[in-house]
Symmetry: C3
Subunit: 680 residues, 3 copies
């Protein structure tokens, strides 16, 4: 497990602020009011390159010097952002090679953000210089405590196709494979005569007929993009470590094609997440059965898998969206506060709202800050001031405590990246992820996310009674060995359709399904089909008493028992494989392995959870309705009501709510979007 | 108000004709039949550049000379089109810099029309030369009476991205702002470090990640495109004025990113519109609640706002569409005639059908003319001959008379252009525009459209009892002053959500909502949210007797009364703001200002109209069903039945239908698509 | 009719195999098992260019020599594929001019297949060389019997926009037209001033505003693409004829913009089709009323129109799809066997499954072969082994026999290509094609497809009692003369809306609708409209006893009887043309011509078939449910059950099923996806 955790004694609440956007006359009042609201920390400067370097090689720190001094007078601490997400016009105009490009070669131009590439030596030169100048200038400033590198790496696009990227990818493959023979084998280039005979022929994927590049090349492309982003962050981290050695370093966001675990382990002090649960108010066709804003808890669990205690660098404070897209309604009364405690319940020990006041210009005029354009009192100011007051009282009771979970969802970057392109696997993953999260939420069973990495140990896994590795299509021998030991050692492992048939290159193994997982699962897959609207997934039922139904989805595999210790737990009830096995359970060593030949529906998850017996930590002291999430950090329990209606809780033992000081026993109402924080 | 109006004593009916498309043997018969049908005017030549200039610098007028002479023999008058919408292949092939380009730089090529840009000096040279040659050649031709410049400026695309356009835009910004500091302020470039430090860095918006250019730059881009189109038209208008001083000048169409008012005031004798109501038979997801072909009345009202009496240069005469898109059914019997009177009722004093005979080749083989390919008698010929006969009798009773309306919808180009890109505002505007138009149509209250321009005077506004300025997001101090005076002076002004929070640059004002409108509205907006499928707009109800419902849509603002003279007219009945104010009315000076914190639904419009007491001019003499539009020009009333069924009218006073000569009193049936023209 | 038919005494069953994809240790076992399954023929090498020519000019035949020798030892025959569909990286990297490009000029790059153009002299040089080397090397190999040229010409894309293509098109137009005057007339360039004055101005269609190129130019573009593909195939065919004169030549696939009839007649020994009926399990919005996998019978009929007996070079054997698209479920038990007999029933005398074993790498890891990655026994192996056994017994009873049909659907490339772009015609064609095919299938009336070509004779047509030429928009004088003679001679010809108004250039004739068909149809079209969701097609009814309904779709034409021999068979019952003629029948010479002023609905087809009296060949010996297809080859009847349920047949005479040897009489059950082969 990562030890790159935020190690703070007290909870730090704060806000993102852009002094360069406002009349200097507003600053003092702004900082004063921040302090009054209970804020202690402010992030600045991450989009201010032209302020710091108005012309190539001419540097100007006076604006931020004055702003930081003012903040410091009010006792606020400062996180400096490096401004490399928004290169100046003078830079991109003179050196267009620093720009990123679409897959078809069309170059992104000035006018938005994140239009650069990580590969260009010219861009790296300019980034190094501005970061070094800023680090040196602010290394001794009494207000500054840490740095955010760039802003939201791989946001806007995580696709790179500039000439510099093609060259960097070629170098990366050369380092990775050494010889073209090895590259040809890894990419399966014998298929369709794609064999490379000179390194000069190697590029990132480019336009092809039918938009269908080589899948193994594309998997490596994603590994490259992640490595390249980390290398770009490393450039900056190394400078800050050298020139501002007393400051911590982080970066913010959880975006695609980026191994946040590796980046955090190698470069950062801790991970930071940007939490915008109101995205859930938009139509989201990929997640039809989602839990709305409550599903952000799963992203927070991902963040916790990187840093057990982390920072939320941007917490949604109001309506969101750009002028031309992502139109989000206003959070309802209490909702912004609920989301704050959602972040904290999942491990945030530092949290900054985005942003102090809504921008009056530019793309983000509808990405509302706490204050409106007009700067008068409003509902958001009142609600967040309440949070500030509360955390001032109880923050230190929470800080540093660890989230408690007895079950974990396993994940790994190979499968995340490979499945993006794989239409047989991608929908399985989304469906099962949603089903597991929703069923566990409804049963009030907290869950961790664990990434299978080179550094993952058996001990890391054995912290959990049960592990769900729903569709580990790619299963390496190393990970298989770890899982084998976990089950043998007494763990419960749950797997689903399409497990284990690919290797690390995304090529298919010439061994029976489910590949390296066959041993502990005790079954093989004899026949299979994907399902769709014209070929619906079959029904199934449990074989134990009651024959209760277990719906399947997206894929149907017909299982054959291969081991004496395996038993068929559920059988199909329709299609030509009616009566054949859909779900198996194998006793293996001291443990148990479940295998479902399908995506997991919620019904399937509930059926399995009924039988493996993982209890909610609510058991024995409180009865909770479905609308409420339970999260535990050490001795602190968080109860979060995501519903617009008040709900009834039943406390079997009297407890005290730290927020209100109320003593709660027996039936008790929790208000719409209400929060309870209980020490037990 | 514009004085650029068509000043004609007699109604002129005519048709568009392409002699170059047909065997010369057909011409005489064609012109003879035109005359028989009651036509007096013919438009020609607007796509005939290669006829006039088959090679660079070689000119040939013989084909059109013969055609015009033939037309003249039949007593027909001619409108010459300048042929600049379709540059010859020899021109674009030799000088590709004259071509327009997609935003990503891909150049549009020969093979369609309107593939050129307005900026290229080369293109302007060639346009000047061909227009001058044509003007000189035809200035004394006895048949020619006027000129159409180009054809449908900004049709096909109103997006320009050629190199010449980038350069012209840079010059435009330089002229507009003088210094880069001013440009940087206007475009809010401090946001995301977009500051420009050299004019060479300034371009029209170009490809960015997430397709999201700077919104203030984009607003200026639209202003530039309009100015540039006008400048291109001016080039031609000046030549015609100089070389054919006895001819009038117009151009046709009502397309985006073009200030038709400015163009007409500065260059033209009058405005011309191209009316194709059958577009309404296509699926149109943006206008789900539209009035179908009857909604063309609103476009005709826009045309009337440019020229009180205008020309319809192209009136739909049959099924329409290109070979590969826009597939329109045939107008039903009577429908083409109905649409003709729709145009006339709204102010057309000259009207040409498009086109004499359907093209047998090219993109428009399904854009049917009056005659079919086969040139035999058909239903369209018969119907339009009837119109010709009728207008021959009654046209002069209508010509020159002014449309009568006591209410107007306010509009301005700043908001039209800014809202195109703004997803918070665009749907508000469409919804409210539809609701107002539909409700006024159903109540038989004629309505004008008035554009707020620099030249707009208080007198222009005071012609109306009531003005609707539904979502004037951008509200300049000049316009605010005018509106203030209008209300103070006794007018009724009705405004809706998101009024007044932006300035002319599209940046947000740091004053409470609704900005400069707060004074006369007497309220501020305390809390607000946009609404969507996942967050439905709240219900509301009227506070006066009956508590009748008033539905809201798209946006909900919670109003706070700030003035003693303001009263809450309706309150929300759901959501967390239930019981709070949704609609206010403020007595201000001698007048009244209404403010609705939402888009206007039809229900809301009817509720407001019930209370402000604007009567239909039908009152007292005829009772009309909803299917019938009433329009008044001077002493002439037009009754238009848009329905496929006959409808019942009830004449309280006897009247005479000028078309049929019938005396109508008490219950009277109006046939499907039927028209009555009544002098009172 | 074509004589380019597969002339084989015995049925040849086989499989596609890629020795280069597998460890050489697997080969012997693979070939042995093929032989055991009843396979006699194997296709290889069509994607193996880099195996044969690993570097420019260095050739290596050893891998395939060893593979072919092994196959030969097992008594298998070999079809060699020329590998030109997948140029090596060294070729495309060094000579990017060989690559194809998108319409906007973006070049397709290495990483998939079919990314080259047919026009580049460089590509033709390299293709010639590799084909010649292969032909010479394998001309005397005892296993090799024939060649497949390239692979699936015009698959992936049939759009070409490389510089080489533009040049080749210019040469093609020059040859076609001789003078620019003729080209200008053919393309109707007088419309919109598109006149060409220099050959250098002539290009394939390029980007235009509104994506709307000249339709006549586009029609020629498709003719060019077909000619160019054939010319590319000819290059290879000529070499093989010269250097491997004892081998036959074919190519595979049925793709757009390619005149397979001309190609086969000129270059090939017979036509080969690739049959993947499981595509029907995907959502297909263009074919909502399709017959699912049974509609592949129509494509097989198209193949039969090229070669009366043909080869299926790729027959689907399992689930299909690429890693990122086209996700197909598994065929259900019996379905792959059913599809095999579907191919055979329609004229296949040679059939190879795609492919022996699923690829473990590359784009097609989900395009399943007979064997799974793991190479163990599976359901597919068992099912296809059964087919091998059956055809070993009965194949020779079928081979060489001709499909029997008394009705044919007429088709021609002019209309296929012209209608792709024409939104008035395209939906008519799809609707009517579906309706005719479905109704004939349900009535168990086998149907041929006949392409109207220059070589088509009256005798070719007179083989059929009735011909359906549903929407022959383009009708040439030659084809009209042939049809006239067919009807006069006693045939029944059925035509639908929009017949005959275009000439071969796609330009509209200046004669009344239905143009050249008016004579034998005995009607003209007076009024017409296309219909859509906002303007629904009218109802109609039969005028004979019962007044049974006849629904119309997409278009409504109002017919006027022009001939004494014509009678109105059905009249419209709604819309303004209610009571007017929708369907006519004309006695003309010895024959009859029907004309329907609409697309054909299934209801309309059944009504017409009820009245023209074409019987099913099932009549008198078996009663069949709708789910079963009947196909006849000579004295062999095939009964194919496409349903997942068993169905009841009623044999009025006892027959013997050749597959099972069962004697069938009276009621008999046919299993799900079951097949009967009966000799009568």
């Amino acid at each position: 497990m990562s030890t790159k955790s935020l190690g703070s004694d007290s909870f730090q609440l704060g806000v993102c602020y852009y002094p360069e956007h406002w009349s200097e006359q507003l600053w003092d009042d702004d900082f004063r009011r921040m302090k009054e609201m209970g804020f202690s920390i402010v992030r600045v400067a991450e989009f201010a390159w032209t302020i710091f370097e108005p012309e190539d090689g001419r540097f100007a720190f006076d604006l931020f010097d004055r702003a930081l001094d003012t903040a410091h007078r009010h006792g606020l601490k400062i996180i400096m952002g490096t401004p490399t997400a928004t290169p100046p016009a003078w830079l991109t105009h003179r050196y267009p090679e620093v720009l990123n490009a679409r897959p078809d070669g069309v170059v992104y131009r000035h006018g938005q953000r994140r239009h650069y590439n990580y590969s260009s030596p010219v861009y790296r030169f300019y980034c190094e210089r501005i970061v070094r100048r800023m680090a040196r200038h602010y290394s001794e400033h009494p207000a500054v405590v840490g740095w955010q590198i760039d802003n939201e790496l791989n946001c806007e696009t995580n696709d790179f196709h500039s000439d510099a990227d093609h060259i960097a990818f070629r170098q990366w493959t050369r380092k990775q494979y050494g010889t073209l023979d090895k590259l040809n084998v890894a990419w399966g280039t014998v298929f369709w005569s794609q064999t490379y005979t000179d390194w000069e022929q190697v590029f990132l994927t480019r336009p092809t007929p039918s938009n269908s590049p080589n899948p193994h090349q594309l998997l490596d492309e994603k590994r490259f993009i992640s490595d390249n982003a980390i290398s770009f962050a490393r450039l900056q981290a190394d400078i800050i470590r050298e020139d501002a050695p007393n400051h911590w370093v982080t970066t913010n966001g959880l975006f695609g094609r980026l191994d946040n675990h590796e980046m955090t382990d190698e470069l950062l002090n801790f991970f930071s997440y940007d939490s915008y649960p109101q995205f859930s108010s938009l139509e989201d066709p990929d997640h039809r059965e989602s839990l709305r804003d409550r599903k952000w808890s799963l992203s927070l669990s991902e963040s916790r898998s990187v840093s057990p205690q982390f920072c939320v660098m941007e917490q949604q404070s109001g309506p969101g969206g750009w002028v031309n897209q992502m139109e989000m309604p206003a959070p309802r009364p209490g909702q912004a506060r609920l989301w704050t405690y959602q972040s904290i319940a999942h491990g945030a020990d530092m949290l900054l709202y985005f942003r102090w006041r809504t921008a009056t210009m530019g793309t983000e005029i509808y990405w509302h800050g706490i204050n409106d354009y007009h700067n008068r009192p409003n509902r958001r100011v009142r609600e967040i001031a309440q949070v500030g007051e509360e955390l001032g009282r109880i923050g230190s009771l929470i800080t540093g405590k660890s989230f408690q979970a007895s079950i974990a969802l396993l994940e790994d970057y190979d499968n995340v990246w490979d499945s993006e392109f794989d239409v047989w696997v991608r929908p399985l993953r989304w469906k099962s992820r949603d089903s597991w999260h929703k069923a566990l939420q409804e049963r009030h069973i907290p869950v961790d996310v664990v990434y299978m990495r080179e550094s993952t140990t058996l001990e890391d896994l054995q912290r959990y009674e049960a592990l769900v590795y729903a569709h580990a299509t790619i299963l390496t021998t190393e990970r298989a060995a770890l899982l084998d030991a976990y089950v043998k050692g007494g763990g419960t492992l749950i797997m689903g359709a399409r497990t284990g048939y690919k290797d690390q290159r995304g090529q298919c193994r010439m061994i029976p399904f489910p590949g390296l997982a066959a041993d502990w699962c005790g079954i093989t897959v004899e026949d299979f089909t994907l399902c769709n609207a014209n070929y619906p997934a079959a029904g199934a039922q449990w074989n134990d008493s009651g024959l209760s139904p277990l719906s399947t989805a997206i894929f149907n595999e017909v299982l054959s028992v291969e081991s004496e210790t395996a038993e068929i737990m559920a059988t199909y009830t329709s299609e030509y494989y009616s009566g054949q096995a859909a779900l198996s359970r194998n006793r293996y060593g001291q443990g148990t392995a479940w295998y479902l030949g399908s995506a997991f529906t919620e019904e399937a998850v509930h059926g399995i959870l009924d039988r493996i017996g993982i209890a909610s930590p609510a058991e024995g002291w409180v009865e909770l309705p479905k609308q409420v999430e339970l999260a535990i950090r050490g001795d602190i329990a968080f109860l979060l009501n995501y519903s617009q209606e008040p709900v009834q809780l039943n406390f079997l033992q009297p407890v005290t709510d730290l927020l209100s000081g109320n003593r709660l026993s027996e039936l008790s109402e929790l208000s719409p979007y209400g929060v309870l924080v209980i020490q037990r």
